[in-house]
C-alpha cells in the first residue's frame, strides 16, 4: 500500500478534473448540432443518435445515484426501486395523456407521488432487515408493475392496460437537446442531493444506521423517520427520472418502465463505482451503460464478435454481461473508484486480497 494523504489528494484532484472536463464536453458537444452552430460551420461533435444514448446514460445516473441514498448510505438493499421509476412515469404520463396537463406542470408531481408511495410502503417494509427487506422490496416492485398493467374500472383499463399509454409529443424546438439537458439536470440534482445529504446531520444519521442500527437508535437517531425519509428521497429522484422518461419516450407500458433488470443494473452501477460516495454511482452508470449498449451493438462504434451471428449477438452480449458481473463481484468488491481513487493501486495483489477477504 502506498496510500499517503498527499497521493490521495493528488489522485482525487486528477480524477475530479478529468471528470469535470469529460462532463463539460458531454454537456457542450450537443450544442454543435444546433442550426445556428451548423450555419456558422462549427464541426458536428454529436448527432441525434448520441443524444439518445447520453440521455439514457443520464437517466441511469439518476437511478444509480438515487439507489445509493437508500442502498449505499443507509445500507438497506432496496431491490425494487424500479417501482418508483414506473410510478413517476405513469404519474406524468396519466396527467398529460388523460388530464391534458402541460408537461412542466405534470413533471413535479412524479417525484411527489413516488415519494409519497415510498413513505407509505416504507413504513412497514423498513422494519425488515437484510435479505427480508431486499426480497420484500422486490415484491413491491413486481406487484406495482402488475397492478398498473391490469387494473380495470368498468371494463376499461385505468392505466392503458397491456397496450400501454401513448402521450402527445411535446412541442419544443430541438426535442432531443431539450430532454438531454432535462435528464442531465436531473442527474445534477441527484448528485447535489447526495452531496448535501452526506454533509448534513441527516446523512450522519443514515451512516450511523448503516454501521449499527441499534447503536444509532440508542444515540438518539429516530431510525424509522430517517430510513423512511431516505427511502422517500431515493424514490423522489427515481420518480423524477421516470417522469422525464415518459414524455421523452412518448410511449410507456409495463415492460419499459417496470423492467426488473433495472433494479439490478442500478445496484451494479453503484457498486461498480463505489457506494456511499457522491460521484461513484454516476461513474458506474456511465461505464456500465456504455458497456451494455456496446455489447448490444447499439453504439455507433461497434465491432463484430467473432464466430457469433447477428441473431445470436444480443444473447451472447447477455452472457458476457453475466460473466462480467460475476468477475466484478468476485474481484472488485469495493468498486472501481476504490482502486482508481488513490486508496490503493490496481494490482494482482489487490485482486488476491479482495478474493481472500471474501472467500471461504
Amino acid at each position: 500500500m502506498i496510500a499517503t494523504a498527499a497521493s490521495n489528494r493528488r489522485w482525487r484532484r486528477v480524477f475530479l478534473i478529468a471528470g469535470a472536463i469529460l462532463a463539460a464536453y458531454a454537456l457542450l458537444a450537443p450544442l454543435t448540432s444546433l442550426d445556428a452552430a451548423q450555419s456558422a460551420n462549427v464541426p458536428l461533435l454529436a448527432d441525434k443518435y448520441w443524444f439518445r444514448i447520453t440521455t439514457y446514460i443520464a437517466m441511469f445516473v439518476v437511478m444509480a445515484t438515487a439507489w445509493n441514498i437508500i442502498g449505499g448510505i443507509t445500507g438497506y438493499a432496496a431491490f425494487g426501486n424500479v417501482a418508483f421509476f414506473g410510478i413517476g412515469a405513469y404519474t406524468t404520463g396519466m396527467l398529460i395523456a388523460k388530464a391534458k396537463w402541460p408537461f412542466l406542470l405534470a413533471l413535479p408531481l412524479a417525484p411527489i407521488i413516488a415519494a409519497a408511495f415510498a413513505a407509505l410502503v416504507g413504513l412497514p417494509l423498513l422494519r425488515l432487515r437484510g435479505h427480508y427487506f431486499a426480497v420484500a422490496s422486490l415484491g413491491v416492485g413486481v406487484a406495482v408493475g402488475e397492478l398498473v398493467q391490469n387494473i380495470d374500472y368498468g371494463g376499461q383499463p385505468v392505466f392503458g392496460g397491456a397496450s400501454g399509454l401513448f402521450l402527445p409529443i411535446l412541442r419544443v424546438d430541438n426535442r432531443g437537446l431539450f430532454f438531454f439537458y432535462l435528464m442531465s439536470a436531473a442527474a445534477g440534482v441527484s448528485m447535489a442531493a447526495t452531496w448535501l445529504v452526506l454533509r448534513s446531520q441527516f446523512g450522519y444519521g443514515l451512516i450511523a444506521i448503516r454501521e449499527n442500527e441499534d447503536a444509532a437508535s440508542v444515540l438518539g437517531v429516530n431510525t424509522t423517520a430517517y430510513k423512511v425519509a431516505a427511502f422517500a428521497l431515493a424514490a423522489a429522484l427515481t420518480g423524477l427520472a421516470g417522469g422525464i422518461f415518459s414524455q421523452w419516450n412518448v410511449f410507456i407500458n409495463q415492460e419499459n418502465v417496470f423492467p426488473i433488470e433495472y433494479n439490478v443494473q442500478m445496484i451494479l452501477m453503484a457498486l461498480l463505482g463505489g457506494t456511499g460516495t457522491v460521484f461513484g454511482p454516476a461513474v458506474g452508470a456511465v461505464l456500465l451503460q456504455l458497456l451494455i449498449q456496446f455489447l448490444g451493438g447499439t453504439l455507433p462504434i461497434s465491432f463484430d464478435i467473432p464466430f457469433v451471428s447477428a441473431d445470436a449477438r444480443p444473447i451472447v452480449a447477455q452472457v458476457i454481461l453475466g460473466l462480467l458481473l460475476v468477475v466484478v463481484v468476485i474481484f472488485v468488491p469495493r468498486g472501481v473508484i476504490d482502486f482508481f481513487g488513490g486508496r490503493t493501486r490496481l494490482s494482482l495483489s489487490y485482486l488476491r486480497r479482495s478474493l481472500r477477504e471474501t472467500s471461504l
Binding site: 431491490f79 437484510g130 420484500a136 415484491g139 457498486l271 452472457v319
Partner: protein, 289 residues
C-alpha cells in the same frame, strides 16, 4: 360446495410444484445465507433435461426426475465450489448480484442451445384424471405432488439422519464453530448448494409437465420460491412444505376471483408475502432463530 372442494384439491395439487421449487431455495437460503437468484435457471435446466429425455428417448417424464437431480447436483456442486464460495464472506448484496449474473449466463446459454421456442412434455396420460362425481383429480399434478412430498421427505431424511446432513445443520447453526470441529466447509457448502440445485432440477422436471417451457420460464419461479419459503418459515423442510401448499391454495383461490383475478397472481402472492413478513416474520411454521 363441489366447486369449493375442487378448488381446494387443485390448489393443493398445484402446491406440489411450489413445494419442490421452495425446498431447494429454502435450504440454500437457510444454510448458506444466499438468496439464490439463479434458482429459476437451475429449475428450467431440469425442465430441459426432462424434455430432452422425453422427446429423444421417450422416457416417462417422472422417471427422468432422478436424472435431473443428479445432473443438477453436479452442476450446483461445481458452481458453489468454483464461484459462489469465493464471495461467501462478502455483504449480502454481492451474493444477490453474483447469483443474478449466474442466472443471466445460464438462461442465455440455454437460449443459445435450445432457442426461445416453447417446449412441452405431454405423456399420453396428461389431461386425464380420477373422477368422483363432479370432482376431478388430474393424474399429472397428483403424481407431481407425490414426487414433491417424496423429495421433501428424502431431503429431511438426508439432513437429519446422515453424516453430511448433520454437518450441514451444524453450519447453519454456527459456521465458525462447525469449522472448529473439523467440518470441511468448502465441501459441505458445495454439497448444500448441490442439494438445492438437485431439488430445483426435480422441480423443473415437474414444471415441464404442467406448462410449456422456454429458457426464461424459470424466473417467475425464483420469485415464487421466495414467497413459499417466507410463507412457511426459513430453516425447516416441513415448514417449506406447508408454505408451498398454502401458496398453491392462495393461487387457486386468487385465480378464481371473478374478473381479472388470474392476472393478479403475482400481486396477490407478494401482497401476502409482505403481510406475512411484517406481521409474522418467522413464517407460518417457523421458529425465530
Amino acid at each position: 360446495m363441489a366447486n369449493f372442494v375442487q378448488l381446494v384439491i387443485l390448489g393443493l395439487l398445484a402446491g406440489g410444484v411450489y413445494v419442490a421449487v421452495g425446498v431447494g431455495f429454502g435450504l440454500v437460503w437457510g444454510v448458506l445465507n444466499i438468496v439464490n437468484l439463479a434458482h429459476g435457471a437451475l429449475v428450467i435446466i431440469g425442465g430441459y433435461i426432462t424434455w430432452q429425455l422425453f422427446t429423444a428417448l421417450h422416457v416417462d417424464p417422472f422417471l427422468t426426475l432422478p436424472v435431473d437431480a443428479v445432473a443438477l447436483f453436479v452442476l450446483g456442486y461445481g458452481l458453489q465450489r468454483g464461484v459462489i464460495n469465493r464471495i461467501i464472506r462478502a455483504p449480502l448484496l454481492f451474493t444477490f448480484l453474483l447469483t443474478f449474473g449466474l442466472n443471466l449466463v445460464l438462461v442465455n446459454l440455454l437460449l443459445l442451445i435450445f432457442g426461445s421456442d416453447f417446449r412441452s412434455v405431454t405423456p399420453d396420460y396428461a389431461g386425464r384424471g380420477l373422477e368422483f362425481g363432479s370432482i376431478v383429480i388430474p393424474y399429472v399434478p397428483l403424481i407431481s405432488l407425490g414426487a414433491a412430498i417424496l423429495l421433501s421427505a428424502g431431503l429431511a431424511f438426508l439432513l437429519n439422519r446422515t453424516r453430511i446432513g448433520l454437518a450441514i445443520n451444524a453450519i447453519a447453526a454456527d459456521r465458525d464453530a462447525a469449522q472448529l470441529v473439523g467440518i470441511d466447509l468448502r465441501h459441505a457448502y458445495a454439497v448444500t448448494y448441490g442439494l438445492g440445485a438437485a431439488c430445483a432440477g426435480v422441480a423443473g422436471g415437474l414444471i415441464a409437465l404442467i406448462q410449456a417451457i422456454t429458457p426464461s420460464a424459470g424466473e417467475p419461479y425464483t420469485l415464487q420460491a421466495f414467497v413459499v419459503v417466507i410463507l412457511g418459515g426459513l430453516g425447516r423442510v416441513s415448514a417449506t412444505v406447508v408454505g408451498g401448499l398454502a401458496f398453491g391454495l392462495v393461487e387457486a383461490f386468487g385465480q378464481s376471483i371473478p374478473g381479472s383475478g388470474s392476472v393478479f397472481a403475482n400481486a396477490i402472492a407478494f401482497g401476502l408475502m409482505v403481510l406475512v413478513l411484517v406481521t409474522r416474520p418467522q413464517g407460518l411454521m417457523g421458529r425465530l432463530r
